[in-house]
């Protein structure tokens, strides 16, 4: 499940994920994100925030999706928020936590 929100004051697109993101779910989510108008028509100044506070499991393919969006968003424009400790550890083990700006 995924919800998109736009905050015009903050110039931030927040993508809220919920549940378990396994390999299949990650693929489906990627489709949804890629075709979402807020993302497709994003202004380069807009930040992208992935809120994964209600995510309990992530597949490696989801980490790849995060990396793709971090690169597309540009330096300092991408972040991941509300990580649960188990998911935080998963990002740490991947070694990609710093580039993904996780809090």
């Amino acid at each position: 499940m995924v919800i998109f929100e736009y905050n015009s004051t903050e110039k931030a697109i927040t993508v809220i994920f919920k549940g378990r993101i396994d390999y299949i779910a990650a693929g489906e989510l990627n489709e949804i994100i890629q075709t979402e108008p807020l993302i497709k028509n994003r202004n380069p100044e807009d930040k992208i925030i992935f809120d994964i506070g209600e995510v309990e499991y992530i597949a490696s393919s989801f980490i790849r999706i995060c990396v793709i969006h971090a690169k597309q968003a540009g330096s300092g424009k991408f972040s991941i928020i509300n990580c649960q400790p188990f998911v935080k550890k998963t990002f740490k083990i991947s070694g990609l936590d710093e580039m993904l700006n996780i809090s």
Partner: protein
């Protein structure tokens, strides 16, 4: 110059190898007699050696160095004295496998300046127990006290019948010579206790090495914890030898709901919370800005010395300086490892965020080392252990004295704490004598009945898949 150093190294290793050849013939009784003699001699000099180390290095507290020397002799001896390290040490009647312990050969033992005489005696005891000659390479800042510890142990070993040159010491000289020694073909193993650079050099030498990793020990105080008890223990640990043990606490983390209580308790027990201006002053003298690593001038120093260096006024009798960095990482210098009575302090909005702080601290240069939790909630204790990458997860325990073992728990007493692959080590264990043995396995014929009763021609039939084979393989006629 290098040729000369090579010749010196050859000479030392030749002697060590002769000692190894002789030592190899010793039985358990002879070995144990030597170990007992060295333990007693080292133990009897615990106070003098502690004072010498303190005077020479200018680090720590001599009384605490006495305790370290006691751990390194009495408690290490107690833990290994009954261990079998010679000949057949185990036989499994079910598998028919017998295990024979063999010594490794000459061991190069690198000694840190923070725990010099204790590490010397600890390494000598575990090497002698495993019948390995040892060559001590001390930090140049502690060479005199290490030499004295070596002299005492060597004389005691010889008096108990140990081979000549079973303990040698190389004069703490150039880095080049240490590297020549590390890479020497006659070195069987390097026991590398020290900084990251040294440990990496040991692993890069081409010889087997047991190293240690740096620590950055987070302490989570859970809401279920006994807060005064937790604070008392943290203080007793962080002030122990002025924080020189790499397992000492580095950061305290809790949820906001107990923050005030924790702060009040630290203050009540004579700890001082730095203002942000004071924190900046401490950062400047405690951290080398170019590298982000701790400055040697604060290692093992008292709060009063650190305050003087930083030009701070702190109340008399202050035990620990506590800083409140706004984050964790390179931009927040006091969030990393500092072997001195300085702590970082973090208050999180909720439990999940608090654990995330601990994970961040753990991964900021302390992977695989140690972590601590004060809690009476069993689920949270086990969750914490699962989430942190630490060889030792200490529960309701001061980490300095807890991680080295045998004082607050039953971990093997050790001054070489493995940090697993996260710390670039091969093990997370507290290193002891059993890690210094080659174990031979004598495997008597015990045919696998399943294998021999199975029609092995079936393996060549490509039409049979795993399920077909497995069903047949385990068929109980």
């Amino acid at each position: 110059m290098s040729e000369n150093l090579l010749e010196i190294a050859d000479g030392i290793l030749e002697k060590a190898q002769l000692a190894a050849a002789e030592f190899h013939q010793f039985n358990q009784e002879q070995t144990d007699k030597i170990v007992e003699s060295v333990f007693k001699a080292g133990f009897n000099c615990r106070v003098n050696l502690a004072k010498m180390a303190h005077e020479e290095t200018g680090m720590g507290v001599w009384e605490h160095k006495v305790i370290k020397n006691v751990l390194a002799t009495q408690l290490v001896y107690e833990s290994i004295k009954d261990e079998k390290t010679v000949g057949v040490i185990a036989y499994n009647t079910h598998t028919g496998i017998a295990e024979i312990a063999q010594p490794l050969g000459p061991i190069l033992a690198v000694i840190p300046v923070t725990n010099p005489t204790s590490t010397v005696m600890f390494k000598i005891l575990i090497c002698l127990k495993s019948r390995n000659p040892i060559i001590i390479s001390s930090h140049r800042g502690a060479s005199k006290s290490c030499a004295e510890a070596v002299r005492i142990c060597y004389e005691a070993a010889l008096s108990a019948g140990a081979p000549e040159d079973c303990i040698q010491m190389i004069s703490s000289g150039s880095r080049e010579f240490t590297q020549i020694m590390m890479a020497h073909s006659k070195i069987a193993l390097i026991l590398a206790t020290g900084g990251t650079g040294l440990v990496k050099a040991a692993y890069s030498s081409g010889n087997p090495a047991i190293g240690v990793g740096p620590g950055n020990v987070p302490v989570f105080i859970d809401e279920s914890a006994d807060i005064p008890f937790a604070v008392t223990n943290i203080i007793s640990s962080k002030t122990f030898d002025n924080g020189t043990i790499c397992a000492s606490e580095q950061a305290i983390v809790m949820v906001k709901s107990i923050e005030e209580e924790v702060i009040a308790e630290f203050r009540r027990q004579s700890c001082y919370f730095l203002t942000s201006e004071e924190m900046n002053k401490v950062e400047k003298i405690a951290i080398v800005s170019e590298t982000g690593s701790m400055s040697p001038q604060v290692v093992g120093q008292s709060v009063q010395t650190i305050a003087k260096l930083a030009d701070l006024q702190v109340p008399e009798g202050t035990k620990i300086l506590i800083a409140r960095p706004e984050g964790i990482g390179k931009d927040y210098p006091l969030s990393g490892e500092i072997l001195a009575p300085i702590l970082a302090f973090y208050s999180a909005k909720d439990y999940g965020s608090a654990i995330n702080y601990c994970i961040d601290l753990n991964y900021l240069g302390g992977i695989g080392h140690s972590a601590c939790i004060y809690s009476n909630n069993e689920k949270r204790i086990m969750d914490y252990a699962e989430l942190l990458n630490a060889g030792r997860i200490l529960v309701n325990t001061p980490t300095s004295q807890g991680a080295v073992g045998m004082l607050f728990n039953q971990l093997p007493p050790s001054l070489t704490l493995g940090c697993g692959t996260g710390g670039k080590n091969i093990t997370t264990e507290n290193i002891t004598a059993k890690n210094l043995l080659n174990i031979q396995r004598v495997c008597r014929r015990k045919p696998n009945d399943l294998w021999f009763s199975f029609d092995q021609s079936k393996y060549f039939d490509e039409s049979l898949v795993a399920d077909d084979i497995i069903t047949d393989y385990y068929k109980n006629h």
